[in-house]
Amino acid sequence: MTTGQPPAIRSTTLIDRVSLVDLLDRVLARGVVVSGELTLTIADVDLVHLSLRALLSSVRPDLAGPDPGTDGG
């Protein structure tokens, strides 16, 4: 009985090819409040997130990625 997901992506190389924009959509936090035990409140990351995406496209246009086709990414 499996407890994990079907491992459609196994190799590190494939994972590295994940679109950065798709990845940041998911890993940059939003809406989480944390206590004084932690270094950084996620509200701060929210602000960073908003300004950072503008920064990404201006500093590294290649990071924005080409308009993707239907290859499933």
Binding site: D16, R26, V27, L28, L52, A64
Partner: protein, 257 residues
């Protein structure tokens, strides 16, 4: 004595059960488990030079640092998610030291157990739709009841083009609605993702839909088949499916109680 290292959290997994071999973390550090009350956090000890209170915001604004950290973080989370139910943590959850982490695990135990249940035997899939970049065919010059001057002819053409563009928008909107209503029944839950804005090239303003679906593993093949069918019957709209993702969009680690 000031701590040299802080505790960066990647994910929470069940404390019991197999743990796969894990890649190094965001600073190249080994990833270890901290278990408390049946749940375990996958963490790494990272220097304050990387993730201290002053350094982290600066690093998060550095595109190269952010990309490296995001990819390495995701690589650890993905390795876990391929083997065990995994509650992904986003960037950046950092504890001053393990003691604070343990208190958090203890205090948020019910929430984390609930999140584990949410992701067990499930994966996140991203479905994006893009309006075809080909413009709709130009309408033929409208036939007027009487001959009209060039100015009027121009205005009539403009009106016809706007009407054609509106019909195209309507068609795309209907296609998106059809895609959403077709895929929703497969999903445990869905989340709307950003569609436009910074980080995507202007051409990607042709993105008209960006939704994450939480899909039971058992329905994965049917879900994929449904997306392929929808791609075939939606002229003017391109579908792009990504996944399986760890369930980033379907867990919220909230305020410590």
């Amino acid at each position: 004595m000031a701590e040299q290292c802080a505790t960066w959290v990647y994910a929470v997994v069940p404390a019991a059960g197999p743990v796969p071999e894990l890649p190094p973390g965001i600073a190249g550090e080994p990833v270890r488990l901290v278990a408390e009350g049946g749940i375990a956090a996958a963490v790494g000890s990272v220097s304050r030079e990387e993730v201290g209170e002053a350094e982290l915001p600066r690093h998060l604004r550095d595109p190269e640092w952010l990309e490296r950290a995001a990819r390495r973080h995701h690589r650890v989370v993905s390795a876990l998610a391929q083997a065990v139910p995994t509650v992904p943590f986003r960037l950046a959850i950092i504890f001053h030291e393990d003691g604070g982490l343990r208190r958090f695990l203890e205090g948020s135990r019910q929430q984390l157990l609930s999140a584990l249940a949410t992701v067990t035997h499930r994966a996140e899939w991203g479905v994006q739709a893009y309006a075809s970049s080909a413009p709709p065919p130009a309408p033929a010059d409208p036939v007027a009841a009487e001959p009209v001057g060039p100015g009027t002819a121009y205005l009539l053409r403009q009106r016809a083009e706007r009407a054609a563009a509106e019909r195209e928008r309507q068609r795309i909107w209907e296609a998106v609605r059809r895609i959403e209503s077709s895929l929703e029944p497969f999903a445990v839950a869905s989340r709307v993702q950003p569609v436009s804005g910074a980080g995507r090239q202007p051409a990607s303003s042709s993105m008209v839909m960006n939704i994450s679906y939480l899909i039971d593993d058992g329905l994965r093949d049917e879900f994929m088949a449904a997306t392929q069918r929808l791609a075939a019957i939606s002229p003017g709209v391109r579908l792009r499916v990504t996944g399986p993702w760890p369930g980033y969009s379907f867990v919220e680690i909230g305020e410590e109680r």
